[in-house]
Symmetry: C2
Subunit: 233 residues, 2 copies
Amino acid sequence: MTTQDDWIANLKAASGDLARSSTVTRVADLLRQQITDGHLVPGAALPEKLLSEAANVSRNTMREAFRLLAQEGLVVHEFNRGVFVRSLTLADVADVYRVRRILEGAGVRNAAEAGPEPVARVGAVVAEGERAAAEGRWADVGTADIRFHQAVAALCGSPRVDDMMRHLLAELRLVFHVMGSAERFHGPYLPRNRRLADLLAAGDLTTADQELRAYLYDAEAQLTAAYTAVEPA
Amino acid sequence: MTTQDDWIANLKAASGDLARSSTVTRVADLLRQQITDGHLVPGAALPEKLLSEAANVSRNTMREAFRLLAQEGLVVHEFNRGVFVRSLTLADVADVYRVRRILEGAGVRNAAEAGPEPVARVGAVVAEGERAAAEGRWADVGTADIRFHQAVAALCGSPRVDDMMRHLLAELRLVFHVMGSAERFHGPYLPRNRRLADLLAAGDLTTADQELRAYLYDAEAQLTAAYTAVEPA
DNA sequence: GCATATTTGTCCGTATGTATA
DNA sequence: CTATACATACGGACAAATATG
Protein backbone atom coordinates (compact mmCIF):
# COMPACT_ATOMS: atom_id res chain seq x y z
CA MET A 1 0.00 0.00 0.00
CA THR A 2 2.72 2.39 0.94
CA THR A 3 4.81 1.46 -2.08
CA GLN A 4 1.82 1.73 -4.40
CA ASP A 5 0.98 5.14 -3.05
CA ASP A 6 4.59 6.11 -3.56
CA TRP A 7 4.42 4.99 -7.19
CA ILE A 8 1.33 7.03 -7.69
CA ALA A 9 2.90 10.03 -6.02
CA ASN A 10 6.06 9.73 -8.08
CA LEU A 11 4.16 9.35 -11.30
CA LYS A 12 2.01 12.30 -10.45
CA ALA A 13 5.06 14.38 -9.65
CA ALA A 14 6.78 13.33 -12.87
CA SER A 15 3.78 14.13 -14.99
CA GLY A 16 3.50 17.38 -13.14
CA ASP A 17 7.05 18.16 -14.16
CA LEU A 18 6.21 17.41 -17.75
CA ALA A 19 3.05 19.47 -17.72
CA ARG A 20 4.97 22.34 -16.21
CA SER A 21 7.06 22.80 -19.31
CA SER A 22 5.64 25.92 -20.83
CA THR A 23 7.13 27.54 -23.90
CA VAL A 24 8.60 30.23 -21.70
CA THR A 25 10.31 27.61 -19.57
CA ARG A 26 11.72 25.77 -22.57
CA VAL A 27 13.08 28.96 -24.11
CA ALA A 28 14.63 29.97 -20.81
CA ASP A 29 16.23 26.53 -20.56
CA LEU A 30 17.73 26.90 -24.02
CA LEU A 31 19.20 30.31 -23.27
CA ARG A 32 20.47 29.19 -19.88
CA GLN A 33 22.30 26.34 -21.55
CA GLN A 34 23.89 28.64 -24.11
CA ILE A 35 25.03 31.01 -21.39
CA THR A 36 26.42 28.49 -18.92
CA ASP A 37 28.20 26.66 -21.73
CA GLY A 38 29.96 29.88 -22.63
CA HIS A 39 28.50 30.19 -26.13
CA LEU A 40 26.99 33.49 -25.10
CA VAL A 41 29.75 35.56 -23.56
CA PRO A 42 29.13 38.06 -20.75
CA GLY A 43 28.15 41.47 -22.03
CA ALA A 44 26.64 40.13 -25.24
CA ALA A 45 23.39 41.76 -26.29
CA LEU A 46 20.29 39.58 -26.61
CA PRO A 47 17.95 41.33 -29.10
CA GLU A 48 14.45 40.04 -28.54
CA LYS A 49 13.44 40.14 -32.19
CA LEU A 50 16.45 38.15 -33.34
CA LEU A 51 16.25 35.58 -30.56
CA SER A 52 12.48 35.16 -30.72
CA GLU A 53 12.69 34.43 -34.45
CA ALA A 54 15.59 32.06 -33.89
CA ALA A 55 13.60 30.16 -31.27
CA ASN A 56 10.34 30.38 -33.25
CA VAL A 57 8.48 32.03 -30.42
CA SER A 58 6.77 35.37 -30.11
CA ARG A 59 8.53 38.39 -28.69
CA ASN A 60 6.18 38.33 -25.70
CA THR A 61 7.24 34.82 -24.84
CA MET A 62 10.90 35.70 -25.22
CA ARG A 63 10.46 38.71 -22.97
CA GLU A 64 8.94 36.53 -20.25
CA ALA A 65 11.84 34.13 -20.59
CA PHE A 66 14.19 37.09 -20.17
CA ARG A 67 12.45 37.97 -16.91
CA LEU A 68 13.08 34.46 -15.63
CA LEU A 69 16.76 34.57 -16.55
CA ALA A 70 17.10 38.03 -15.05
CA GLN A 71 15.70 36.63 -11.83
CA GLU A 72 18.45 34.01 -11.88
CA GLY A 73 21.08 36.67 -12.40
CA LEU A 74 22.24 35.27 -15.73
CA VAL A 75 21.13 38.31 -17.73
CA VAL A 76 20.51 41.94 -16.90
CA HIS A 77 17.58 43.97 -18.16
CA GLU A 78 18.38 47.60 -18.93
CA PHE A 79 15.28 49.65 -19.51
CA ASN A 80 14.90 50.84 -23.08
CA ARG A 81 18.24 49.28 -23.94
CA GLY A 82 17.55 45.57 -23.90
CA VAL A 83 18.84 42.42 -22.28
CA PHE A 84 22.50 41.48 -21.95
CA VAL A 85 24.38 38.47 -20.66
CA ARG A 86 25.43 39.31 -17.13
CA SER A 87 29.06 40.19 -16.71
CA LEU A 88 30.39 39.93 -13.19
CA THR A 89 32.72 42.54 -11.78
CA LEU A 90 35.55 41.65 -9.43
CA ALA A 91 33.35 43.03 -6.65
CA ASP A 92 30.66 40.55 -7.68
CA VAL A 93 33.08 37.64 -7.52
CA ALA A 94 34.26 38.76 -4.11
CA ASP A 95 30.66 39.06 -2.93
CA VAL A 96 29.70 35.62 -4.22
CA TYR A 97 32.57 34.06 -2.27
CA ARG A 98 31.67 36.14 0.78
CA VAL A 99 28.16 34.69 0.73
CA ARG A 100 29.47 31.21 -0.01
CA ARG A 101 31.65 31.39 3.11
CA ILE A 102 28.55 32.37 5.11
CA LEU A 103 26.25 29.67 3.71
CA GLU A 104 28.72 26.81 3.43
CA GLY A 105 30.18 27.72 6.83
CA ALA A 106 26.71 27.62 8.34
CA GLY A 107 26.25 24.21 6.76
CA VAL A 108 29.45 22.82 8.27
CA ARG A 109 28.64 24.16 11.73
CA ASN A 110 25.16 22.64 11.45
CA ALA A 111 26.41 19.19 10.40
CA ALA A 112 25.69 17.65 13.81
CA GLU A 113 22.06 18.80 13.81
CA ALA A 114 21.65 17.93 10.14
CA GLY A 115 21.93 14.23 10.88
CA PRO A 116 23.84 11.44 9.14
CA GLU A 117 22.14 11.37 5.73
CA PRO A 118 23.17 14.83 4.48
CA VAL A 119 26.70 14.26 5.81
CA ALA A 120 26.87 10.92 4.03
CA ARG A 121 25.79 12.65 0.85
CA VAL A 122 28.78 14.97 1.08
CA GLY A 123 31.06 11.95 1.23
CA ALA A 124 29.26 10.28 -1.65
CA VAL A 125 29.73 13.32 -3.87
CA VAL A 126 33.45 13.43 -3.08
CA ALA A 127 33.74 9.72 -3.92
CA GLU A 128 31.98 10.38 -7.22
CA GLY A 129 34.50 13.13 -7.99
CA GLU A 130 37.42 10.85 -7.18
CA ARG A 131 36.02 8.13 -9.42
CA ALA A 132 35.58 10.61 -12.26
CA ALA A 133 39.14 11.87 -11.81
CA ALA A 134 40.53 8.32 -11.82
CA GLU A 135 38.77 7.64 -15.09
CA GLY A 136 39.78 10.94 -16.63
CA ARG A 137 36.24 12.31 -16.91
CA TRP A 138 37.28 15.87 -16.10
CA ALA A 139 33.95 17.45 -16.93
CA ASP A 140 32.34 15.19 -14.34
CA VAL A 141 35.03 16.21 -11.87
CA GLY A 142 33.88 19.77 -12.29
CA THR A 143 30.22 18.98 -11.76
CA ALA A 144 31.08 16.82 -8.75
CA ASP A 145 33.02 19.72 -7.27
CA ILE A 146 30.02 21.98 -7.67
CA ARG A 147 27.72 19.35 -6.18
CA PHE A 148 30.10 19.00 -3.26
CA HIS A 149 29.65 22.62 -2.30
CA GLN A 150 25.91 22.35 -2.74
CA ALA A 151 25.92 19.33 -0.45
CA VAL A 152 27.89 21.25 2.17
CA ALA A 153 25.44 24.14 2.09
CA ALA A 154 22.58 21.64 2.17
CA LEU A 155 23.72 20.72 5.70
CA CYS A 156 21.81 23.84 6.71
CA GLY A 157 18.67 21.85 5.99
CA SER A 158 17.10 24.87 4.32
CA PRO A 159 15.42 24.90 0.90
CA ARG A 160 16.07 28.63 0.66
CA VAL A 161 19.78 28.15 1.28
CA ASP A 162 19.78 25.48 -1.43
CA ASP A 163 18.19 27.99 -3.76
CA MET A 164 20.71 30.68 -2.92
CA MET A 165 23.60 28.31 -3.53
CA ARG A 166 22.17 27.33 -6.88
CA HIS A 167 21.98 30.99 -7.82
CA LEU A 168 25.49 31.79 -6.60
CA LEU A 169 27.06 28.89 -8.46
CA ALA A 170 25.11 29.82 -11.60
CA GLU A 171 26.57 33.30 -11.38
CA LEU A 172 30.05 31.87 -10.97
CA ARG A 173 29.63 29.83 -14.13
CA LEU A 174 29.63 33.16 -15.95
CA VAL A 175 33.22 33.53 -14.80
CA PHE A 176 34.50 29.96 -14.79
CA HIS A 177 35.26 29.98 -18.48
CA VAL A 178 38.08 32.48 -17.96
CA MET A 179 39.96 29.62 -16.34
CA GLY A 180 41.69 27.85 -19.17
CA SER A 181 40.06 24.49 -18.60
CA ALA A 182 37.55 23.57 -15.96
CA GLU A 183 39.48 20.45 -14.94
CA ARG A 184 42.55 22.48 -14.05
CA PHE A 185 40.40 24.66 -11.85
CA HIS A 186 38.35 22.02 -10.09
CA GLY A 187 40.84 19.12 -10.05
CA PRO A 188 43.29 20.40 -7.42
CA TYR A 189 40.47 20.84 -4.92
CA LEU A 190 39.57 17.16 -4.84
CA PRO A 191 41.95 16.34 -1.94
CA ARG A 192 40.57 19.26 0.04
CA ASN A 193 37.02 18.06 -0.62
CA ARG A 194 38.06 14.62 0.65
CA ARG A 195 39.61 16.08 3.79
CA LEU A 196 36.53 18.17 4.50
CA ALA A 197 34.22 15.20 4.02
CA ASP A 198 36.34 13.15 6.42
CA LEU A 199 36.35 15.92 9.02
CA LEU A 200 32.57 16.17 8.75
CA ALA A 201 32.15 12.41 9.09
CA ALA A 202 34.45 12.45 12.13
CA GLY A 203 32.46 15.27 13.66
CA ASP A 204 35.39 17.68 13.90
CA LEU A 205 33.33 20.64 12.83
CA THR A 206 35.64 23.31 14.22
CA THR A 207 38.55 22.18 12.08
CA ALA A 208 36.23 21.67 9.13
CA ASP A 209 34.99 25.24 9.49
CA GLN A 210 38.52 26.63 9.45
CA GLU A 211 39.55 24.46 6.52
CA LEU A 212 36.53 25.52 4.53
CA ARG A 213 37.22 29.20 5.06
CA ALA A 214 40.81 28.82 3.91
CA TYR A 215 39.60 26.69 1.01
CA LEU A 216 37.17 29.31 -0.22
CA TYR A 217 39.65 32.15 0.23
CA ASP A 218 42.17 30.24 -1.89
CA ALA A 219 39.64 29.47 -4.60
CA GLU A 220 38.53 33.10 -4.69
CA ALA A 221 42.13 34.28 -4.96
CA GLN A 222 42.84 31.90 -7.82
CA LEU A 223 39.71 32.88 -9.70
CA THR A 224 40.26 36.57 -9.03
CA ALA A 225 43.82 36.37 -10.32
CA ALA A 226 42.75 34.71 -13.54
CA TYR A 227 39.86 37.12 -13.91
CA THR A 228 42.01 40.20 -13.34
CA ALA A 229 44.39 39.07 -16.07
CA VAL A 230 41.55 39.08 -18.57
CA GLU A 231 39.16 41.72 -17.28
CA PRO A 232 41.04 44.83 -16.16
CA ALA A 233 37.78 46.42 -15.03
CA MET B 1 34.37 70.99 -6.97
CA THR B 2 33.79 67.82 -5.11
CA THR B 3 30.40 68.99 -3.89
CA GLN B 4 29.40 70.15 -7.36
CA ASP B 5 30.36 66.83 -8.85
CA ASP B 6 28.32 65.15 -6.13
CA TRP B 7 25.31 67.25 -7.05
CA ILE B 8 25.68 66.29 -10.64
CA ALA B 9 26.08 62.63 -9.77
CA ASN B 10 23.06 62.69 -7.49
CA LEU B 11 20.92 64.46 -10.04
CA LYS B 12 21.98 62.03 -12.70
CA ALA B 13 21.21 59.08 -10.45
CA ALA B 14 17.81 60.52 -9.55
CA SER B 15 16.87 61.15 -13.14
CA GLY B 16 18.08 57.69 -13.94
CA ASP B 17 15.73 56.33 -11.31
CA LEU B 18 12.86 58.25 -12.84
CA ALA B 19 13.62 57.14 -16.35
CA ARG B 20 13.90 53.56 -15.19
CA SER B 21 10.26 53.44 -14.13
CA SER B 22 8.67 51.31 -16.80
CA THR B 23 4.98 50.50 -16.88
CA VAL B 24 5.77 46.97 -15.75
CA THR B 25 7.64 48.34 -12.74
CA ARG B 26 4.84 50.70 -11.77
CA VAL B 27 2.21 47.97 -12.01
CA ALA B 28 4.39 45.65 -9.94
CA ASP B 29 4.79 48.39 -7.35
CA LEU B 30 1.03 48.81 -7.12
CA LEU B 31 0.42 45.11 -6.63
CA ARG B 32 3.27 44.81 -4.16
CA GLN B 33 1.71 47.56 -2.08
CA GLN B 34 -1.69 45.87 -2.11
CA ILE B 35 -0.14 42.58 -1.02
CA THR B 36 2.14 43.84 1.74
CA ASP B 37 -0.66 46.02 3.10
CA GLY B 38 -2.81 42.94 3.45
CA HIS B 39 -5.51 44.04 1.02
CA LEU B 40 -4.73 40.99 -1.08
CA VAL B 41 -4.78 38.00 1.22
CA PRO B 42 -2.55 34.95 0.69
CA GLY B 43 -4.12 32.42 -1.64
CA ALA B 44 -6.19 35.00 -3.49
CA ALA B 45 -6.32 34.56 -7.26
CA LEU B 46 -5.02 37.34 -9.47
CA PRO B 47 -6.85 37.03 -12.83
CA GLU B 48 -4.78 38.78 -15.46
CA LYS B 49 -7.76 40.06 -17.44
CA LEU B 50 -9.40 41.64 -14.42
CA LEU B 51 -6.22 43.18 -13.06
CA SER B 52 -4.91 44.42 -16.39
CA GLU B 53 -8.19 46.23 -17.03
CA ALA B 54 -8.19 47.64 -13.52
CA ALA B 55 -4.68 48.98 -14.01
CA ASN B 56 -5.33 50.09 -17.59
CA VAL B 57 -2.48 48.07 -18.99
CA SER B 58 -2.36 45.28 -21.50
CA ARG B 59 -2.40 41.65 -20.45
CA ASN B 60 1.17 41.20 -21.62
CA THR B 61 2.36 44.01 -19.38
CA MET B 62 0.48 42.56 -16.42
CA ARG B 63 2.03 39.16 -17.08
CA GLU B 64 5.52 40.65 -16.99
CA ALA B 65 4.67 42.37 -13.72
CA PHE B 66 3.57 38.97 -12.39
CA ARG B 67 6.97 37.52 -13.30
CA LEU B 68 8.64 40.25 -11.27
CA LEU B 69 6.46 39.62 -8.23
CA ALA B 70 6.95 35.87 -8.58
CA GLN B 71 10.68 36.50 -8.52
CA GLU B 72 10.22 38.33 -5.21
CA GLY B 73 8.24 35.44 -3.80
CA LEU B 74 5.09 37.50 -3.25
CA VAL B 75 3.02 35.55 -5.78
CA VAL B 76 3.19 32.07 -7.26
CA HIS B 77 2.64 31.24 -10.89
CA GLU B 78 0.85 27.94 -11.54
CA PHE B 79 0.98 26.88 -15.16
CA ASN B 80 -2.41 27.01 -16.89
CA ARG B 81 -4.03 28.00 -13.62
CA GLY B 82 -2.92 31.55 -13.03
CA VAL B 83 -1.20 33.67 -10.43
CA PHE B 84 -2.01 33.62 -6.71
CA VAL B 85 -0.86 35.58 -3.72
CA ARG B 86 1.79 33.48 -2.01
CA SER B 87 0.68 31.74 1.14
CA LEU B 88 3.43 30.60 3.44
CA THR B 89 3.31 27.24 5.15
CA LEU B 90 4.59 26.72 8.66
CA ALA B 91 7.62 25.07 7.06
CA ASP B 92 8.21 28.26 5.09
CA VAL B 93 8.09 30.38 8.23
CA ALA B 94 10.52 28.03 9.95
CA ASP B 95 12.85 28.18 6.96
CA VAL B 96 12.77 31.96 6.76
CA TYR B 97 13.81 32.18 10.41
CA ARG B 98 16.47 29.51 9.84
CA VAL B 99 18.02 31.64 7.09
CA ARG B 100 17.63 34.80 9.14
CA ARG B 101 19.60 33.20 11.97
CA ILE B 102 22.33 32.35 9.45
CA LEU B 103 22.50 35.77 7.80
CA GLU B 104 21.96 37.99 10.82
CA GLY B 105 24.29 35.78 12.86
CA ALA B 106 26.96 36.16 10.19
CA GLY B 107 26.44 39.91 10.37
CA VAL B 108 26.92 40.04 14.13
CA ARG B 109 30.06 37.91 14.00
CA ASN B 110 31.40 40.15 11.24
CA ALA B 111 30.74 43.40 13.12
CA ALA B 112 34.42 43.93 13.92
CA GLU B 113 35.50 43.63 10.29
CA ALA B 114 32.52 45.68 9.12
CA GLY B 115 33.90 48.81 10.72
CA PRO B 116 32.21 51.52 12.80
CA GLU B 117 29.77 53.01 10.27
CA PRO B 118 27.51 49.96 9.79
CA VAL B 119 27.55 49.32 13.55
CA ALA B 120 26.59 52.93 14.19
CA ARG B 121 23.73 52.56 11.76
CA VAL B 122 22.35 49.67 13.82
CA GLY B 123 22.31 51.94 16.86
CA ALA B 124 20.71 54.75 14.89
CA VAL B 125 17.88 52.52 13.74
CA VAL B 126 17.21 51.38 17.30
CA ALA B 127 17.13 55.00 18.46
CA GLU B 128 14.66 55.79 15.69
CA GLY B 129 12.45 52.94 16.90
CA GLU B 130 12.60 54.19 20.49
CA ARG B 131 11.67 57.68 19.41
CA ALA B 132 8.72 56.35 17.41
CA ALA B 133 7.56 54.29 20.39
CA ALA B 134 7.81 57.28 22.73
CA GLU B 135 5.63 59.29 20.38
CA GLY B 136 3.16 56.49 19.85
CA ARG B 137 3.92 56.06 16.13
CA TRP B 138 3.50 52.30 16.22
CA ALA B 139 3.62 51.78 12.49
CA ASP B 140 7.03 53.44 12.49
CA VAL B 141 8.07 51.16 15.32
CA GLY B 142 7.36 48.23 13.06
CA THR B 143 9.34 49.59 10.13
CA ALA B 144 12.21 50.49 12.46
CA ASP B 145 12.22 46.92 13.75
CA ILE B 146 12.47 45.59 10.21
CA ARG B 147 15.22 48.07 9.39
CA PHE B 148 17.07 46.98 12.52
CA HIS B 149 17.33 43.44 11.29
CA GLN B 150 18.36 44.62 7.84
CA ALA B 151 21.08 46.72 9.45
CA VAL B 152 22.32 43.71 11.42
CA ALA B 153 22.51 41.58 8.28
CA ALA B 154 24.17 44.50 6.49
CA LEU B 155 27.14 44.00 8.83
CA CYS B 156 28.10 41.22 6.43
CA GLY B 157 29.03 43.95 4.00
CA SER B 158 27.43 42.01 1.17
CA PRO B 159 24.94 43.40 -1.36
CA ARG B 160 23.69 39.87 -1.99
CA VAL B 161 22.98 39.33 1.69
CA ASP B 162 21.10 42.64 1.72
CA ASP B 163 19.04 41.37 -1.19
CA MET B 164 18.30 38.07 0.51
CA MET B 165 17.20 39.82 3.68
CA ARG B 166 14.89 42.08 1.70
CA HIS B 167 13.33 39.02 0.14
CA LEU B 168 12.98 37.14 3.43
CA LEU B 169 11.34 40.07 5.19
CA ALA B 170 9.02 40.61 2.23
CA GLU B 171 7.92 36.98 2.54
CA LEU B 172 7.34 37.44 6.25
CA ARG B 173 5.08 40.39 5.56
CA LEU B 174 2.70 37.88 4.03
CA VAL B 175 2.35 36.41 7.51
CA PHE B 176 2.69 39.43 9.77
CA HIS B 177 -0.93 40.41 9.37
CA VAL B 178 -2.05 37.31 11.30
CA MET B 179 -0.64 39.05 14.36
CA GLY B 180 -3.46 41.19 15.64
CA SER B 181 -1.62 44.47 15.33
CA ALA B 182 1.90 45.05 14.11
CA GLU B 183 2.75 47.24 17.13
CA ARG B 184 2.00 44.44 19.53
CA PHE B 185 4.31 42.19 17.59
CA HIS B 186 7.24 44.54 17.07
CA GLY B 187 6.97 46.66 20.22
CA PRO B 188 8.19 44.14 22.81
CA TYR B 189 11.39 43.56 20.85
CA LEU B 190 12.57 47.15 21.21
CA PRO B 191 14.50 46.49 24.46
CA ARG B 192 16.17 43.48 22.88
CA ASN B 193 17.13 45.56 19.85
CA ARG B 194 18.63 48.13 22.20
CA ARG B 195 20.60 45.49 24.08
CA LEU B 196 21.91 43.99 20.87
CA ALA B 197 22.97 47.39 19.54
CA ASP B 198 24.81 48.10 22.80
CA LEU B 199 26.56 44.73 22.72
CA LEU B 200 27.65 45.40 19.14
CA ALA B 201 28.90 48.86 20.02
CA ALA B 202 30.82 47.40 22.96
CA GLY B 203 32.33 44.73 20.75
CA ASP B 204 30.95 41.81 22.75
CA LEU B 205 30.10 39.82 19.65
CA THR B 206 29.95 36.42 21.33
CA THR B 207 27.18 37.51 23.68
CA ALA B 208 25.46 39.38 20.88
CA ASP B 209 25.49 36.23 18.76
CA GLN B 210 23.85 34.19 21.53
CA GLU B 211 21.29 36.88 22.26
CA LEU B 212 20.37 37.17 18.62
CA ARG B 213 19.81 33.43 18.27
CA ALA B 214 17.53 33.36 21.31
CA TYR B 215 15.82 36.51 20.02
CA LEU B 216 15.02 34.97 16.65
CA TYR B 217 13.92 31.67 18.15
CA ASP B 218 11.48 33.54 20.40
CA ALA B 219 10.12 35.64 17.56
CA GLU B 220 9.68 32.54 15.42
CA ALA B 221 7.84 30.75 18.22
CA GLN B 222 5.52 33.69 18.76
CA LEU B 223 4.76 34.03 15.07
CA THR B 224 4.35 30.29 14.63
CA ALA B 225 1.92 30.10 17.54
CA ALA B 226 -0.25 32.86 16.14
CA TYR B 227 -0.04 31.37 12.67
CA THR B 228 -0.97 27.88 13.83
CA ALA B 229 -4.06 29.23 15.53
CA VAL B 230 -5.29 30.63 12.22
CA GLU B 231 -3.83 28.28 9.63
CA PRO B 232 -4.16 24.66 10.71
CA ALA B 233 -2.30 23.52 7.59
C1' DG C 1 -19.46 12.54 -16.51
C1' DC C 2 -20.58 16.07 -19.79
C1' DA C 3 -21.22 20.41 -22.00
C1' DT C 4 -20.34 25.14 -21.37
C1' DA C 5 -18.09 29.28 -20.02
C1' DT C 6 -14.04 31.25 -18.36
C1' DT C 7 -9.15 31.84 -18.22
C1' DT C 8 -4.64 31.12 -19.55
C1' DG C 9 -0.83 30.52 -23.07
C1' DT C 10 0.88 32.08 -27.16
C1' DC C 11 1.17 34.57 -31.38
C1' DC C 12 0.74 38.61 -34.39
C1' DG C 13 0.44 43.46 -36.06
C1' DT C 14 1.16 48.07 -34.94
C1' DA C 15 2.20 52.49 -32.89
C1' DT C 16 5.28 55.12 -30.03
C1' DG C 17 9.37 56.27 -27.79
C1' DT C 18 14.37 55.64 -26.97
C1' DA C 19 19.16 54.90 -28.06
C1' DT C 20 22.90 54.85 -31.18
C1' DA C 21 25.65 54.99 -35.72
C1' DC D 1 21.07 66.10 -36.62
C1' DT D 2 19.11 62.66 -39.06
C1' DA D 3 18.18 57.98 -39.82
C1' DT D 4 18.00 53.42 -38.44
C1' DA D 5 17.42 49.86 -35.28
C1' DC D 6 15.37 48.45 -31.24
C1' DA D 7 12.56 48.28 -27.01
C1' DT D 8 8.10 49.35 -24.90
C1' DA D 9 3.36 48.85 -24.83
C1' DC D 10 -1.15 48.06 -26.72
C1' DG D 11 -5.07 45.25 -28.52
C1' DG D 12 -6.90 41.51 -30.87
C1' DA D 13 -6.98 36.70 -32.03
C1' DC D 14 -7.23 31.69 -31.29
C1' DA D 15 -6.15 27.14 -29.25
C1' DA D 16 -5.80 24.66 -25.10
C1' DA D 17 -6.55 24.01 -20.39
C1' DT D 18 -9.35 24.77 -16.52
C1' DA D 19 -13.38 25.75 -13.85
C1' DT D 20 -18.39 25.61 -13.51
C1' DG D 21 -23.13 24.22 -13.69
